[in-house]
Symmetry: C2
Subunit: 341 residues, 2 copies
DNA sequence: TCGGACAATGTGAGCGTTCACAAGTGAAAA
DNA sequence: TTTTCACTTGTGAACGCTCACATTGTCCGA
């Protein structure tokens, strides 16, 4: 409306208008009980008239607190904000909520370019801690994380491939077992695992291990249908499933490393006229919204994102060693894609 | 590893270690060309050894910049981070990316409780601007927004119900027309609109208006199947579709106000043994990932989230009036749910 | 030998707060 | 009246940084 950009009012402006000292303004606005009621009212009125808000960056500087945790979501190269695994979003959201519940702000950035990613870690050095969601293969990451930790900051990784870092993960072992048990109980005889083991995604590897252990316990041979890198997880799942169909070696169920892959696989099965769940059972991991609306709806295993987010925040704010290294429990959500009966 | 929490190093610590003055450290780290190369190296080495990072909150305080834009995602009451409309996440992501490209940080919060929401606006007052994603019916919001704007901050709303606020929206009118044109071209004769008009979601209302105008242009009577409030959008869509099925008044296609509703509706149609797209066509809005994996895949209309995010950031950072009030173009994505032929 | 120009570094103020401490009230107790 | 004390408010020093300005050192031409 008006012309020039007017300077933002400070507590001194409020003090002048209210006819008190600046520190009285500070106290009144901070809700200090020592301030007399009439004074407080004068101050509040003046502040409101001027449209004054406390400058948090100054307050925090003085107070010595940051009150902020940084969250970095690492995108895969070429991945945009809209093609990223939706589970990362759910996790991001619950991290923000959990942080907010503990009175912390969250500073969020999405990074695809690793060069810039590291630059950003530095800029964000002023946060109390850093939560990293996603995976990077970049080795120099170690050095950066070390530097950050030397600088008194804590870095917690969701599903880190680096053992030296603090991490929070799903109980992937349990997930693998749950998948096998459920598939066998549903009447499938030859469940295979669909995913990749040679990636920095340790979570995939752990799911495989859980799956393999459960298979052996049941007297069965674990089988891997390896995915190869593609533009999206769905595409990876689709291609791997196509190869599986061509092979046709008696596999009658698939435990996919993530829902996106499972959905891609279901797509491929439909194209090959294989009926899910009759001809082949499919179970995923993540509990994406998309899985609720696929035909058939996708049976899946997943952590509660709220629980996972809370665990991450606790880990990044907690001072106790060890306590931070946690496993988030997973749950089986049974839907149509494994309902053989 | 070590015991007590050591104080974070400051530029004075670096200066002492490097044997130079504090301001030389500042200059060296800021990349000032006036610093001699050997000095810069000494400083960089000392900084690295101490694990020093510039305290951005102090730097920005001194510099007078915030370099931050706040993003608030409003959840519907009872909605958790994982049940929120995924489009909001995609939008959030692209806002973060767009901001980062312009050198800004993003401070993100998810708010369900409106009381706290407003408290948070104040705390976040130190950002250069505020992007609000989601909808609130709360009238006092006006006052808060006014106060924020009086305080020199800019608030931009995604799909605001308040006309006095800056907003960025999809071109919902065009979306309504696109939907009708596509449905008629696909051989449907009686498309209805599924959604609610009495909500603060102006975007829904605008889509209805676009739909209604296109219907009249085609010589047809616009028809509304009203949704009523439920826990999730899917549930709202499901229930409205059930009523539509019971009515069976010749409607042969549905334009749902959002994908989540469309998916819920498809669920209800499947339960009622109505085949999509043969018996009834369905088209949504948002281009959710879930729509790509539904059976049949969902035809939808939507803005490019990246474009929308960029427009929001531009609006919140731009100084020009009017320029900020923008419409983001929408695109039709044709999939199975309207493939009658 | 000296002074001026230029390059590199040091000095000190101040960004807008909070907080420990000092100081000013007025009423109750001596 | 004087002392005491509770209750409020004012004063001034930080927080860690950047930037305008002052200072130092070095080289070169007169």
């Amino acid at each position: 409306m008006s012309g020039g950009a007017t300077r933002r009012p400070t507590s001194f402006d409020v003090a002048e208008r209210a006819g008190v000292s600046q520190s009285t303004v500070s106290r009144a606005l901070a809700g200090s009980p020592v301030i007399a009621e009439p004074t407080r009212n004068k101050v509040l009125k003046a502040a409101e008239e001027l449209g004054y808000f406390v400058d948090e960056r100054a307050a925090r500087l003085r107070r010595g607190s940051t009150g902020t945790i940084a969250v970095v979501v690492i995108c895969r190269p070429g991945e945009s904000a809209s093609t990223i695994n939706p589970f990362a979003y759910a996790l991001l959201g619950s991290v923000c909520v959990a942080a907010s519940e503990r009175g912390f702000e969250t500073l969020v950035s999405f990074q695809a370019n690793e060069e810039r990613l590291f630059g950003h870690y530095q800029e964000r050095g002023w946060a109390d801690g850093l939560v990293v969601i996603g995976t990077t293969t970049n080795e120099p990451a170690w050095d950066y994380f070390r530097k950050l930790e030397a600088g008194g900051r804590k870095v917690v990784y969701w599903g880190s491939p680096f053992d030296e870092l603090e991490w929070v993960r799903s109980d992937n072992h349990a997930a693998g077992r749950l998948a096998v048990e459920h598939l066998l109980a549903s009447g499938y005889r030859n469940p295979c695992f669909l995913g990749a083991l040679d990636t920095p995604q340790v979570q995939f590897t752990e799911r495989w291990e859980g799956y393999a252990a459960a298979m052996r316990d049941a007297g069965l041979e674990p089988r891997l249908v390896a995915t190869v890198n593609a533009a999206t997880r769905e595409e990876e799942g689709r291609r791997a499933a196509q190869r599986l169909v061509e092979r046709s070696d008696g596999v009658d169920a698939v435990f996919a490393a993530c829902d996106a892959m499972a959905l891609g696989a279901m797509d491929a099965f439909a194209a090959a006229d294989l009926a899910v769940p009759q001809d082949i059972g499919v179970i995923g991991f993540d509990d994406l919204l998309a899985g609720r609306f696929s035909r058939p709806p996708l049976t899946t295993i997943g952590p509660d994102p709220a629980q996972a987010g809370a665990a991450l925040v606790e880990a990044v704010l907690g001072t106790e060693e060890g306590e931070a290294r946690r496993r988030v429990p997973v749950h089986l959500i049974t839907r149509g894609s494994t309902a053989r009966t």
